[in-house]
Symmetry: C2
Subunit: 420 residues, 2 copies
């Protein structure tokens, strides 16, 4: 039965919270709206909108912005009093736990980062210690900024590996060396019972992009992230789609080469991960550099600074033919996998993060061509590609989005209700 929304009864107070959320989401999507516009949008009466808005204004979440500018469109009648969401009325904390890095950020209601900090952590740091560092840094950041628990909607955690969001447990994270870490419980305890939402980091990124990205909200979005492995977070109608066993979006193990592919760490052969992840690209690049010790690639790898992967991309951009060809081949394989993703999931947009964002310009031509060619009919041409709206902050913003999502969309009893 799980928590079947259809079997759960409704009542008047739920109607009220739903309507409050409708108003808030409307004000989240549009920069400003009048009460009349809200009434038209929601189908509620003017009376109801007046009453609910009064409460939101009282809470400081909404503010009257002043009267509408006179415009040629509006002809007669009393001008609208425009309402605006006050982003800094509440805050969310986002925590992104990556492979060697942890990042914590405070964001406002629009998921705009107020402050953030990053630090490296040792590769085999015990989970408990990592969590203690996080909670310590988070609470000192909150104290420093003078954010009280009353102003916080919650804390979201995006962690790599297999995560159980119901339990708030990081079930298995090989890259971190963790197993069954009760992240939500530990963090909530350390932070005085703050609501904590935990999910996989790529899924969090996908949610952040879908809800708070620059483009309009998509009906279906895939956030494809490549680094050590390759995975996708899927969002449908503003909600994370996890599949029946939290396995949705595991495209890193799409079989791209049916016969005689390279062995993958998952046990199979010919997986996408064996063809396009960061380590694999680096390995190929090294081989190419050895073949041409005086080539652009080899010299760039020797002389330039910065992350190795960036140097490989730089060499391709500088005109190294063999590197370019190697990357185009990778892009073709990624394209085959994404065409399959398109045929199954049919997203409106695909966001490419991680290495794919770093080498976006290099991958795109071949990728777009492969996808529009291999996907069914014109599905491949309809899908839009983009880089993450929040760049390398996609992780924390996504994590914060987990908390913001339950504030705006899910949670029936939120901060507002407490005060009444």
């Amino acid at each position: 039965m799980a928590h079947d929304t259809i079997l759960t009864g409704s009542n008047i107070s739920k109607v009220r919270s739903h309507n409050l959320r409708a108003i808030l989401v409307g004000l989240l999507r549009y920069p400003s709206l009048s009460r009349a516009a809200l009434a038209r949008m929601t189908g509620l009466s003017n009376t109801t909108i007046t009453n609910l808005v009064a409460e939101l204004v009282h809470e400081g979440i909404v503010v009257e912005q002043g009267v509408e500018e006179p415009s040629p469109r509006r002809r007669v009648g009393r001008p609208q009093m425009l309402l605006r969401l006050v982003p800094e009325a509440r805050y969310a904390v986002g925590v992104s736990i990556g492979v060697g890095r942890t990042r914590v950020a405070l964001t406002d209601l629009r998921a705009t980062i107020v402050q953030d900090e990053v630090w490296a952590h040792p590769h085999d740091q015990p989970a408990r210690q990592a969590v203690d560092t996080i909670t310590l840094r988070a609470s000192s950041m909150l104290k420093r900024l003078g954010v009280t628990s009353r102003q916080l909607v919650g804390l979201g955690v995006g962690a790599s590996g297999l995560v159980d969001p119901e339990m708030g447990v990081n079930v298995y994270a090989p890259n971190l060396g963790w197993r069954d870490v009760p992240l939500a419980q530990w963090m909530a305890e350390a932070l005085g019972g703050l609501p904590v939402v935990v999910d996989n980091n790529v899924r969090a990124m996908a949610l952040g992009e879908a809800l708070f990205g620059q483009e309009r909200q998509p009906t279906a979005l895939a956030f494809v992230y490549g680094r050590i492995g390759v995975g996708a977070g899927l969002v449908v109608n503003g909600q994370i789609y996890r599949g029946s066993a939290a396995g949705a979006g595991e495209i890193g193990h799409t079989t791209v080469v049916v016969q005689g592919g390279e062995r993958c760490r998952c046990g199979n052969a010919g997986c996408l991960e064996t063809l396009v992840s960061e380590p694999v690209i680096l390995r190929s690049a090294e081989q190419l550099a050895q073949l041409e010790p005086q080539g652009i690639l080899a010299t760039t790898l020797r002389c330039e600074a910065g992350p190795t992967i960036e140097r490989v991309f730089a060499a391709a951009r500088a005109g190294d033919r063999s590197t370019m060809a190697m990357l185009q081949e990778r892009a073709m394989y990624l394209g085959v996998a994404l065409a399959n993703l398109v045929n199954v999931f049919n997203p409106e947009r695909i966001v490419l993060g991680g290495v794919f964002a770093q080498g976006y310009d290099l991958f795109m031509p071949t990728l777009v061509e492969t996808v529009s060619h291999r996907a069914f009919a014109n599905l491949g041409e309809k899908v839009q590609f983009q880089t993450p709206s929040f760049g390398h902050l996609a992780g924390v913003v996504g994590a914060a989005a987990l908390a913001l999502e339950s504030f705006f969309y899910q949670h029936p009893e939120w901060a507002l209700e407490v005060t009444r």
Copy 2:
């Protein structure tokens, strides 16, 4: 904006319909429930349940079945009065428009078929004529059975090809030779304004299986249908998932052979359809039969009666090695595609319909092995395979399910409201 459920305001009367639906869905899923059990399940008060049930009883949709049997579990207290859905209180019409066949059926509220009829239609029959035949036959069936429009919840149509459910239009059906046929409008006009829901036939089958199949309701289900082409219908939480451009589940065009595959009618090469559809299997079988004119396959094809594809399967069952090997190879390719489906969509169950159901026993061993081997981690082992609960009636039952779904789950103003 489309029809964003979050932006739509709610009110008390919607609460009431929601609660009525919660009760109905509960009674749909369990053979019988007491008022007290319904109260616990929905979280509503006993009083509310009493009132709402009274209405449903008054409408004849629910009936008191008698007092609970004394059991060791129940110890003290007044025994529960068990309530039961009356399936024959309302009916739905399902229309399945296949390649050379149309089937119409009347079902009750549990999607059990009361009566059905099939007929063949000429391959290039004009759409208008086909629709006229359908509505004529449907209304004469209704008249014959004495079903009034008051007792009907609606009519569902499952049609092959690309369908726009919002508009009720069959946009493009190459197998039928149709383009932009306004099925919903034509049928509603001919049937006195009966609510008509139109969708793709495989999606309808998936819905029928998910809502009314023998197994418990899955969180995510894929119905894979193979005949001329191969496609999948996806259902998530009891709702059809269509993707952003109605392209979700087009697995027939999964690229299985990356380099040098056979050309597909979609323009690409190496698509799943070029490897496992009915025509392709028949073609391979003919080639095998020519190689061994005295083999089991060749003689079976010559002598036996029935559809050719069945004779191919019969030959394999009778021990024809080369046919068996050929089918196993097909199963392997299907397995690769389904493993990718599992990695992206992660369904709880995969239902195999069409040719895959006919040759289920022959495909399964290789298929299961390939999927559990190639899908990520243990995702492939977790997924359950099955044949359609409604066999060759999956099409009509699914079509009826389209109408029943809007009765049970969607439609805010349903037959009930009219009488109050």
